[in-house]
Amino acid sequence: MSAPQNISASHRLLRLSASDNVLVATGQVDAGLAGINGGGVIDVLKPVTLGHKIAARRIEPGEKIIKYGVPIGSATSPIEAGEHVHVHNMKSDYTPTHALTETADGDT
């Protein structure tokens, strides 16, 4: 696992590893079609802020969330392609995540 060495600024979603089922926002991403670094587009359902994740495809409940090519937790509900993936629909496979509900949603 390693971060990409060079990132194109014109595409605001990043796929860190070929096997990932989530994409990372490299800036504010509005709802609608968004370009993926390395090729392709995806229909983003709701705007997300820098550093947040978007589902690259439909993810079933209990399925592993894959980022950097490794599992970073499991889906707790069905997640549509283009949907924001965060503490409201995934959980750690180790210890519970502590978040303040006022600030955790990443919607602006």
């Binding site: 696992m1 390693s2 971060a3 990409p4 060495q5 060079n6 990132i7 194109s8 600024a9 990043l14 860190l16 990372v24 926002a25 490299t26 800036g27 997300v48 802020t49 820098l50 550093g51 947040h52 994740k53 969330i65 980022k67 950097y68 490794v70 599992p71 970073i72 937790g73 993936v85 965060h86 503490v87 995934m90 959980k91 750690s92 496979d93 180790y94 210890t95 519970p96 995540t97 502590h98 978040a99 303040l100 600030t103 955790a104 990443g106």
Partner: protein, 394 residues
Amino acid sequence: MRGYLRADGRKGIRNHVVVAYLVECAHHVAREVAMPFRAQGAQVIGFPGCYPNAYAQQMMERLCTHPNVGAVLLVSLGCESFDRFHLAKIVADSGRPVETVVIQRVGGTRISIGRGQQWIARQIEALAAAETVPMDVSELVVGTVCGGSDGTSGLTGNPAVGLAFDRLVAAGAACIFEETGELIGCEAIMADRASTPELAVELRRSVEKAASYYATLGYGSFAAGNAEGGLSSIEEKSMGAYAKSGSSQIAGLIKPGDIPPRGGLYLMDVVPDGEVRFGFPNINDTAEIVEMMASGAHVTLFVTARGSVVGSAISPVIKVCANPETYERMADDMDVNAGRVLAGTPLAEVGDEIYDLTLAVASGAQTKSEELGHAEFVLTYKSFEPIGPACLPR
């Protein structure tokens, strides 16, 4: 690069006078003693507890004999359990000037402050005239921590520090990464980088210990701001944090206060041994920086994304800002803008900048937090077993 040569052979990149309080009750006097000499390098460290603790005693001994420290004033209330006699002996044996002011003996706050300031004034004068000797990159100990992480940390700041670490290790420096509680989920890929199969077992065990410790506490090493910035789980945060270690072979595993015996990459196991007690392993980022210093770190590379402002007593902190939006708001506190990777700057360029800046700071350049007067310090209770024989390079 030039350094201050100490009797144990190590060299310092700063020449601080440290004022150390040995219980919280002596903290105010220590602060007042140091205050007028802040700009000349007087800094306050200390241990607040009144109950004895072998870890805290060892940490204070290591910190008071850190290569960046040239002289030490101990401030004791008088009735605390801390072994001030042993600490004073360790400092004296290291060839450094040391003095103890016992508040109850000398007659209270005012007279203690006066005596302490008189002694500090003399030391400042002597240290200003101290000679320096040539110093090589291979004599540096560099730590790295991250704090206020978010979804950008693992894309920009942490991998950039990893590249700087690779260059430092290749040049012979000792580099330390840590917080086993933030390596949860990375234990397998990390163990594959161990220099020996025995060390691989130790690396894996240290993360398993952290996972079980945090599970008992009910929280991972994860703050609300991490989630605000897009991180959803401890293992996601871990993958980003792990990137700080770069790609060198891992030479050893140390615990706080163990000095790396030679150059190479080391993991610091910061989670206490035995049953869970005394609370969270490291209550904040400063506790991590302090443990790096106790293991001899001359400088700490601190990757932040939400925007930490801290520096440190004793060893300068280089703040690498992973998030470009944060950098725009808080540039005054940040030494490196790693977030520009998201706008197309090659990661290697930022890695080289961090490497060059580390050498510049070691040569005397002031970091942003030093310019702003940051000199944070915290030390709490812990307990550790000594490291096993498989942990250090032979």
